[in-house]
Symmetry: C2
Subunit: 210 residues, 2 copies
């Protein structure tokens, strides 16, 4: 991951186009959210969903995050996908293919009236199609959840793709070069031991079945 | 990802044991490093390696990170692995299985004499076995790289594993429940278009061949 600009190729680039940004955000499940408390940064992983021009960040394991937002801390939130290992002809040009988005801004804690819908969006992002099968969340459950809204006002992406960008003089090196692609895959659903007999894996989990 | 403590099961837990922490760090390639500049947090993805009691963080695309460390900003660095989607019987208990480590502290910019070795460690982490095939890095390449050392003094892990932890009254819901496992896989190496004929994929990339 380097930001050197090359004459030969420029495989890493900054992207401000919303279509690309939205696609990167929509592909991810986990973001890394950073806030400041007592002049120190804290970064934590948590679940999120993009909803139009905002992201909704799940805050229940991250009371520190919600507290910091309430105290006025700005946020920095990153979503990153690793797409491959760039096997270059030098250590210096060895790199990774990736897509990442970083959002900056002040979050807003959703109020009681907004939270139920936002929480549903997060669950539906995690398991598309799931909500229709579930009982509604209770008021107590909603109250135990905190959700932070962050607008996509100050947002940018970085993308590196393609093969190694070697120095011209390294092209004669007697060494293999290329890319090892990486991706995240899902396996066969594993039933809960307490699952009542006769309940099949639902259709909306079928994309996950190989 | 919730930190509720349950009577029935406690699938999410904080871990301070170094063996677990080291294993999580050693499995990852990308960390999310957060720093503070002008009272604002900034989080960025970058490559790293654990080396004993420290992590070495690659800083070349992240001049802001190196600058912030030089200016005295503390750091917060997270490494997260998503292991699965927890398909619970309620939206509230829907969750993710994951392992994450967060490190806090003040980084140190490695000096010229230390950088070459540290840089090699990062490359060898990215592509184990690779260094033996590569020419040594030049002084100019080393000088263009910045590497930040962060000691594992203030470090902790969180791990969530296992099935859904549903409310007892939800176990009668007529709905599938369980876990959809996730993992990162690597594909078949893709040769660089400029690769000279007759150079085979090296042995150390063989684990990546299915």
């Amino acid at each position: 991951m380097s930001d050197k600009t090359r004459i030969r190729r420029v495989p890493e680039r900054a992207v401000s186009e919303r279509g690309t940004i939205d696609a990167i955000l929509d592909e991810g499940l986990v973001c890394h959210a950073a806030y400041v408390t007592q002049d120190r940064p804290v970064v934590i992983p948590t679940l999120y969903v993009r909803d139009g021009d905002r992201v909704l960040i799940h805050g229940s394991n991250t009371m520190g995050l919600a507290r910091a937002v309430r105290a006025g801390s700005p946020l920095s939130v990153a979503v990153t996908h690793m797409d491959g290992i760039v096997v270059a002809r030098s250590a210096f040009n060895s790199s990774a293919n990736y897509r990442s988005v970083v959002i900056h801004g002040h979050g807003r804690i959703l109020d009681k009236g907004e939270k139920a819908t936002a929480f549903d969006l997060i669950v539906e992002k995690l398991i598309p199609g799931r909500l229709a099968d579930l009982r509604p969340s209770t008021a107590s459950e909603i109250s135990q959840t905190s959700i932070i809204e962050l607008m996509l006002d100050e947002v940018s992406a970085k993308v590196r793709s393609g093969g190694p960008e070697d120095e011209p003089e390294d092209l004669d090196e007697e060494v293999w070069a290329g890319v090892v692609p990486m991706k995240t895959v899902v396996g066969e659903p594993i039933p809960d031991p307490d699952l009542r007999p006769g309940i099949p894996v639902p259709d909306y989990l079928r994309p996950y079945r190989r």
